[in-house]
């Protein structure tokens, strides 16, 4: 049985990131990828590759502690954080007879 826990979402703050790509180096799930396009400030911010694989997003509330957190700890610019997200809702399908 799956408990109904609030989900978290991995985000990179584009205002703080300086594009050093240290998160790409340390993430064991290879969620971070080197970006391609410079943003408004001319900084190539890393891309997220299927961030829902991050174990901290799903399990942080369940365990009550940060699970891996390597990217957040090594980020020299404090740009990586998890924000709360509304839990996934099943889509209501109207069945027509």
């Amino acid at each position: 049985m799956v408990k109904d826990v609030p989900c978290m979402r991995l985000v990179i703050d584009e205002n703080r990131c300086k594009g050093c790509n240290l998160c790409v180096l340390v993430c064991p799930y290879k969620i971070f990828r080197e970006g391609k396009k410079p943003n408004r400030k001319g900084i190539v911010v890393p891309e997220l590759d299927r961030p829902e694989r991050c174990p901290n997003c799903r399990l942080r509330q369940l365990y009550g502690r940060t699970i891996c957190g390597l990217c957040q700890l090594i980020c020299p610019d404090q740009a990586i954080d998890w924000i709360g997200e509304e839990p996934y809702e099943h889509m209501k399908v109207a069945i027509e007879y």
Partner: protein, 262 residues
């Protein structure tokens, strides 16, 4: 509580260059402080002058940004005036080893109840990459353009010989271990010295073909050697590679402590 709540969000993004390791060191230190369960009024951060010494300006606690090399002298005063406070210092190698060297050995000798986090980036970063007392032999910098010829300082050995109660050395690549080391230093009464060998892609890396942070981190990953392994090699009579960065916990002891009641 997350360590990000200690930051002064209005000051971010920080002034440090892209890929600088000081941000990682602040993260690990604040993470250790958070795990100690201390509130904002229990901690004071001090610093001298240099790149690393800008760190307390980004932390939402009381802090002192003092004169070059004299952070330890100010910290002694803070600790003796109010022993309730937990005093943490951010210093650099130029701050601690060069101009503040005498303050450092005497703080270790007196064994004042402080935690010193030394961000050792091999050079003077803020003033343009001049050679410091910890520049390795053969490394280029602004003042040693043909390679440094002087033997560098080993700050951890200096702290051990001078009498600090807790000494360890890590790199920003080993974030979890660094956090645990800072936490052990905060728990240990007496002077705790945590040396962090930090990457400096702008000042040191530009002159030594390490402009890319990933290459710098690869060096920390490949060349760092645990103290246990270095001891084992020495016991077996094998040489420790000269470019190896010996990391780990060097000493933890209980010499008499100054500045602690009871």
């Amino acid at each position: 509580m997350n360590f990000l709540e200690w930051y002064r969000v209005d000051r971010l993004p920080s002034i440090f260059c892209a890929g600088c390791g000081i941000g990682t060191v602040i993260n690990c230190t604040l993470s250790a402080v958070t795990s100690m369960g201390w509130r904002r009024n229990d901690v004071v951060f001090l610093s001298g002058i240099g790149c690393s010494s800008r760190a307390p300006g980004y932390i939402r606690t009381d802090s002192l940004h003092t004169t070059h090399g004299r952070a330890l002298a100010f910290a002694t005063g803070v600790k003796l005036a109010e022993p309730r406070l937990n005093v943490i210092l951010f210093t650099g190698d130029g701050d601690l080893a060069a101009i503040g060297g005498n303050h450092f050995i005497h703080a270790c000798r007196r064994n004042i109840d402080l935690t010193v986090v030394c961000v050792n980036n091999y050079i003077y970063g803020m003033t343009g990459g001049q050679g410091s007392p910890t520049t390795p032999v053969g490394a280029r910098s602004s003042t040693t353009p043909y390679g440094s010829t002087e033997t560098p300082f080993d700050l951890s050995e200096l702290a051990m010989a001078a009498g600090a109660n807790y000494v360890s050395r890590w790199t920003p690549y080993h974030t979890k271990e660094l956090t645990a080391a800072v936490k052990a230093g905060l728990e240990t009464p007496g002077l705790s010295f945590i040396e962090v060998m930090t990457q400096c892609p702008t000042g040191y890396g530009r002159a030594n073909r390490l402009r890319d942070v990933k290459e710098f981190m690869e060096i920390f990953r490949m060349r760092s050697m645990l103290k246990q392994k270095a001891d084992r090699l020495l016991k077996e009579g094998k040489p420790v590679p000269p470019d190896a960065i010996v990391i780990g916990e060097f000493v933890r002891r209980s010499r008499p402590v100054m500045g602690r009641r009871g």
